[in-house]
Amino acid sequence: MKRLVGCIVYALVVVTILLAAHRLRAEPGTPAPEQKQQTPQNTQQVPKTASEQADAEHHATIPKYFTTRPPFSEGIFPCTTCHAGLKPDKTRRELYFHTEISLKHAAKQRWCLDCHDSENRDRLRLANGDHVTFEESYMLCGQCHGNVFREWKKGIHGKRTGLWNSDKPGDKVYLLCVNCHNPHSPQFKPIKPLPLPVRPNEITNIKGTSTVEIEGHKLYIPVYGK
């Protein structure tokens, strides 16, 4: 009996989300939806359950906004490599593993499994229990950061690179939230600024140039004498 009620509630939720997604799609300013399903690399090997099928269906209605990959840590993803054999422990505790992660993202209210799916670590979970892949993590972030999510879809928030006047997937590169913000500690870390310009009376007092590489771009910066 309990199961039946659960199923009905679940079906209702799915319908609501489907409708919401439809509205989302109809929002002005979103690029033409690409119906072509991208074959996500490194996705879960586990067989899909009925609810997962439903999720996949509703995600398909959301345009593929991005072409970048999430910044998976080397040797960590797919998580199931280790986690498949581990029994999920839902208690809030100090971790023995993943010690490099220090949660600075509303840490008091949050725990790993609020976002990571306990049953399949290769996917994420939304607040409503729905599942999304890492490639679609913006769905997860967008739950709380609604304004930012909306602006990101329009291209006001976040970074877009590639070809400015082409909407073909791959031509315009949309960064995911997690490409810039570490989800466990989303605030930007201070960075070293590039050299200051020379003062007007020293515009020829330049010793040479040096090369810095930033995200695959080679930049030439000046070297000044003491």
Partner: protein, 408 residues
Amino acid sequence: MFRFIKELIFHLTRGSALYYVWIIALLAIIFNGVVAYTHQLEAGLIVTNMRDQVSWGAYIANFTFLVGVAAAAVLLVIPAYLYHFKPIKEIVLFGEMIAITALIMCLMFVIVDLGRPQFAWHMLITPNFPNSLLVWDVIALNGYLVINIAAVSYILYRKAHGLEYKMSIMWPIVMLSIPWAISIHTVTAFLYNGLSSRPFWNASIVAPRFIASALCSGPALMILIFQVARRLSDIDVTDTAIFKIAELIAYAMGLNLYLFGAEIFKEFYSDSIHLAPMKYLFFGLKGHDILVPFARTAIVCNVAAFFLFLNHKTRENFLTLNVACILVIIGVFIEKGVGLIIPGFVPDTLGEIYDYFPTATEGKICISIWATGALIYTFMIKTAIPIYKGELSLLSKGVSPAISKMRS
């Protein structure tokens, strides 16, 4: 005609020892400047201290001052031709020659300021007219140059034939030259005035102030030059003429100080952020006070000169008169030169303060242009005086008695 030119050249090579020393000194200064300019052409304007922050400097400052000097000839033209005031009528020719010289110097100052002077002719092919005030200025300056050359050559041509000029021919030239003189300085003022990005220049009082100060510095320069000229040659400049000019300077300086006061009041009383350049000029801004001594000197000079000119006792005493003239020239040179150009750029449009001060190269080039002007004026006056006096004539030898009769 050929004989005339031969005699002219012969005449130019003749002179006292002082004349030779003067010419050689000028040529040496000019040579020094040519060397400096060659260096500038090869290396680029990097040899100056102008930079993106202060993109105009000593050249344009000198240019602005000299446009004023050129415009000031009108102060002689009006009493001479319109009111037929005899003492000034005698010397108006030499005033017009000052205008010609000043204009040539102006054009030289603009040329040396160009990054690519060899392409200056592009302005003739695709002039941005009527939008660019620089095109207006080029037209105004060259037009005024042509007008003055026409007036001077016509008068000298008639004199060389032993005749006085005909008013029927002079009248249109004069009528054109008076508004044109005002216009050259007005257009030059508008050149700066029209730039809304530079609050220091973007004040409607700039053009009137230009005219008022021009009517001080130009005539003051003339008074000095006339005194030298009448001492060194037999040119006849009466004291009456000089005192009359001095009197006119007093009025012009009064007006200039009044307009200056009006501007100072408006800027300092309203005390908006646009006051920054004015503060930089008179008090220094954020510890940058390179122009302050100059700006204050200019005020002192102008005020002191005003009282010296105003009092007819000091005005008619050659010692105090000459002191006053020098004070005016220094005062206006600073006020309309560095005092106008540099604060337009400081602080710059992005709030940066760069203390511009000309390099030695800029100094050499400026001085050599002044020397060129002095040389041109010396030659002009040396040619004009004998023609004026009838000693050099286009008439054949036999016809000259008429003139000698006139002279005696």
